[in-house]
Each structure stands twice: as structure tokens, then as C-alpha cells.
Symmetry: C2
Subunit: 111 residues, 2 copies
DNA sequence: TATATTACCTATTTGTTCTAGGTATGATAA
DNA sequence: TTATCATACCTAGAACAAATAGGTAATATA
């Protein structure tokens, strides 16, 4: 039933989150919407995807979290560390490599 | 140690194999090399990746296998079924969607 | 008062890639 | 002859990330 391993999605949540947090600090719930927006509605990551990724990235020191109380709301804001920025450029390099490979494969003549 | 889940690789072996076999029948060992070629060396799938994918696709009726003896060699040739062709166009549609989403995200202005 | 929204969380399932082996045959080199 | 390399197939298990499907609690709105 569960379609848990959709094609081409590995690494995508991490990339999108690092990308967004590289622009400005954000909290999890906010990221869920922001992902839809920057991806032009291509991706709609559930909270159950976003939060575990955030925790994983924090554990690996790619992100730093700070709790804030704003407008009576308790939020966890995340920012990208230096290590996280390196990871981001590593990831986008990988993305370009993979994209190049697949587009090369799909672009070849039929027959 | 084992780097088993590299980013952006989910669905890639399946896509490449369906793509190659959509052009002409091939056997596993041959596919390993062909993948390197069409992907312009972006991908180098080990035999341990290719064979299980072939078996999985055959089980799902996306591929059909026939054993052949050629030049004193025993080989298993695969061809894409009608169902496999549908799967292929589904997959490449997904690829375009994901590519569009990520490129949209990465393309946005820095801030 | 009841419902919707905000905001956080995690356990479990799923399934795919990858590693790291292994077997057997035929061709080539020493 | 012997040893090595290339061909050609195979699988078990590890690793691991995404997705599902829940849950809690506070605030805002109907």
C-alpha cells in the first residue's frame, strides 16, 4: 500500500531544506509550505518527512536549532552551519551530475 | 562505511535499464557497460545492482527474459513488455516533474 | 462551545541501492 | 600446462531515507 520509496526522491528533502535555510532561518511548519512554493508545487513534503530530516541534519551539524517564542507560538528555528553549506554544494554538485547522466541517457536517439 | 543510499539515485537504475532495453534486447553483463556509455560515465552500476533490478522488473512483468547460447556463452536476454513501456513513460514523466521542481528551487535568487 | 489551524513530534513500514561476496566457463598469457 | 583475466551469472545482507500514520498541545476562529 504505502508508496514509501518514490523514484528520484532520495536526497530531495535534504536538498530543498538546505536550500531554503541557506536563504533565511525558518521553522519546520513554515518549511513545509516553503517547499511547495520554491518547487513550484512539484513537491509537497509532509511534516512527517520534514521534521525527521531536520533532526537528522541537526545531528550531523549541518543545521543549528534555536527555540523562539513568537506571537505566543513556540517554534524551532533552523539555520545552516558552515558544514551545512559545504554539504549543500556537495549535494547540488551531485544533483548536476545525476541530472546530466539521466538527460544524456534519455536524450539518445530512439531505435 | 557502506554508502548505500546515495542522493538522487532512487529510480535511476530502473530508468536506465528500461531505457536501454527499450532500444534493443540486452543481457545483464552487457547492460553494465551500456549504462556507463549512455550516461556519459555519470553512472557506473555494479553487477550487484543490475541483476537484482532485472529480476525485480521481470517479476513485475516489465521485462521478459529469454536464455540464449551465443558463441559458447550462456546469456539471459531481456526485452521490455508493453507494461514495461508504460512504466517507462510513467518514470520519465516523474523524472521531468522532479527535475523541474529541483531546478526551480535551485534557480531562485540567493538571499 | 466546537472546530480549524498552528506547531511540534516519532514509531514503523517500505523498498531500493549498494557492498561484498560467490560460482562457472572461455580466452589469453606465462 | 598452468595461471590469470574476462565473461556471465547469482544472492544475502547492510544501510538508510522517504513516506505513512498516527499522536500531543496551544491558539485562533466560527
Amino acid at each position: 500500500m504505502a508508496k514509501t520509496n518514490p523514484p528520484f526522491m532520495s536526497g530531495v528533502p535534504e536538498l530543498l531544506i538546505l536550500r531554503l535555510l541557506g536563504r533565511q532561518e525558518m521553522y519546520g511548519y513554515e518549511l513545509v509550505r516553503a517547499v511547495r512554493v520554491i518547487s513550484n508545487d512539484a513537491f509537497d513534503l509532509a511534516e512527517g518527512v520534514v521534521y525527521p530530516v531536520l533532526h537528522g541534519l541537526e545531528k550531523k551539524k549541518f543545521l543549528k536549532a534555536k527555540r523562539k517564542s513568537i506571537a505566543g507560538r513556540n517554534r524551532v528555528y533552523y539555520t545552516v552551519t558552515v558544514k551545512g553549506k559545504k554539504r549543500m554544494s556537495e549535494l547540488s554538485g551531485e544533483w548536476e551530475r545525476v541530472k546530466g547522466g539521466i538527460d544524456s541517457a534519455l536524450g539518445e536517439q530512439h531505435g
